[in-house]
Amino acid sequence: MHELGIVFHIIKQVEEVANKNSVKEVTKVVLEIGEVSGVVPKYLHDCWKWAVENRSEHMKNCALEVISLKATSYCKDCERMYDTVKSGRICPYCQSKNTYLVTGNEVSIKHIEVKDEN
């Protein structure tokens, strides 16, 4: 259900790009999804086909590709990077809470592939 809402937002943005570039058919959308973004690629794929067939104009047969991005955090106290999935917000080296997420929260459209009419 949550992924469906995200798919609607993706379709909206891709359709805007398609219209701006006078594209007749978008054949593929490539997404970058971070490990801790809370978006499950499997569920995106599950609702993708239905959504593009029923809720898009230029994406009826559009394929979906998802590139997964690893989650990493940085500790401001000991200045080291660590694996966010293993340790969360607390640095595994010095137990500091003074950390932030560097990568892993992405839900981005990397690029789209369209039929070249020329």
Binding site: M1, H2, G5, I6, H9, I10, K12, Q13, V14, V17, N21, V23, T27, L31, V36, G38, G88, R89, I90, K97, E106, V107, S108, I109, K110, H111, I112, E113, V114, K115, D116, N118
Partner: protein
């Protein structure tokens, strides 16, 4: 002849368009001096009961309106209107599991005296996943976690506890009947969001409502002074 394929680079967050709308809405509300508070939780955590008590504690001090978001029905808006007397409207998300900034903006336009208000409380759809991902344009968010749900929720739904500035632990009157460990729960919240404040309440028994009301008043006051 095979079709040639052209690649168009986008490199943009899926949430970018919504975040832009949310930022515009925040700016508009700042000009008007209206504080928008987003309230999130799972279904059945006591959002509506908590809001009724909170509003009754605040309504003589500041001018308040409420927007209730649900997939369907108007029971929440009617309950709040009947028990508090403040303006209350129901937003239907049409099957969607969350509100986005555009829907919030439309809801605000449905309030009759927006410019005169100090505080608009948005009761988001009961759900621990999607509402956390879509910025509504609110100044800040609070998340309610009720005792029967268990103290491990911040571990299971991390984003919900990361995007809020306050976690309200509700239904503390039933603690003796559950294995809910308040200290453990606070630890779990801190792990996800070291800056989050925690207030324990029982909306039904009207315990801790004064603390929650003070927190909201302080947020509104600080925001108005810094604008």
């Amino acid at each position: 002849m095979e079709d040639k394929v052209k690649i168009i680079e986008i490199k943009k967050s899926v949430f970018a368009a919504n975040e832009k709308t949310a930022d515009d809405l925040r700016e508009e509300l700042k000009q008007k001096g209206v504080f928008l508070l987003n309230v999130m939780s799972s279904p059945g955590s006591g959002k509506t009961t908590t809001l009724v008590e909170l509003i009754n504690a605040l309504k003589d001090k500041i001018k308040i309106a409420v927007m209730e978001a649900d997939i369907d029905s108007d029971v929440d808006a009617l309950t709040v209107a009947k028990k508090t007397g403040v303006q209350s409207i129901q937003l239907h998300t049409g099957g969607m599991c969350h509100l986005d900034a555009e829907m919030t903006s439309q809801g605000l336009n449905g309030l009759s005296n927006l410019d005169d208000l100090d505080l608009v409380i948005l009761e988001n759809v009961g759900n621990l996943v999607c509402p956390a991902e879509f910025d509504t344009g609110a100044v800040t968010s609070l998340t309610i976690l009720s005792v029967p749900e268990g103290d491990d929720k911040p571990l299971k739904y991390p984003l919900m506890y990361q995007v809020c500035s306050l976690v309200v632990i509700n239904k503390i009157d039933v603690l003796p009947y559950f294995t809910f460990d308040v200290a453990k729960c606070k630890e779990n919240i801190k792990m996800r969001n070291p800056n989050a404040e925690v207030i324990e309440i029982s909306a039904l028994k009207k315990e801790g409502i004064d603390k929650l009301a003070d927190w909201v008043l302080k947020q509104v006051k600080n925001w108005k002074e810094n604008k």
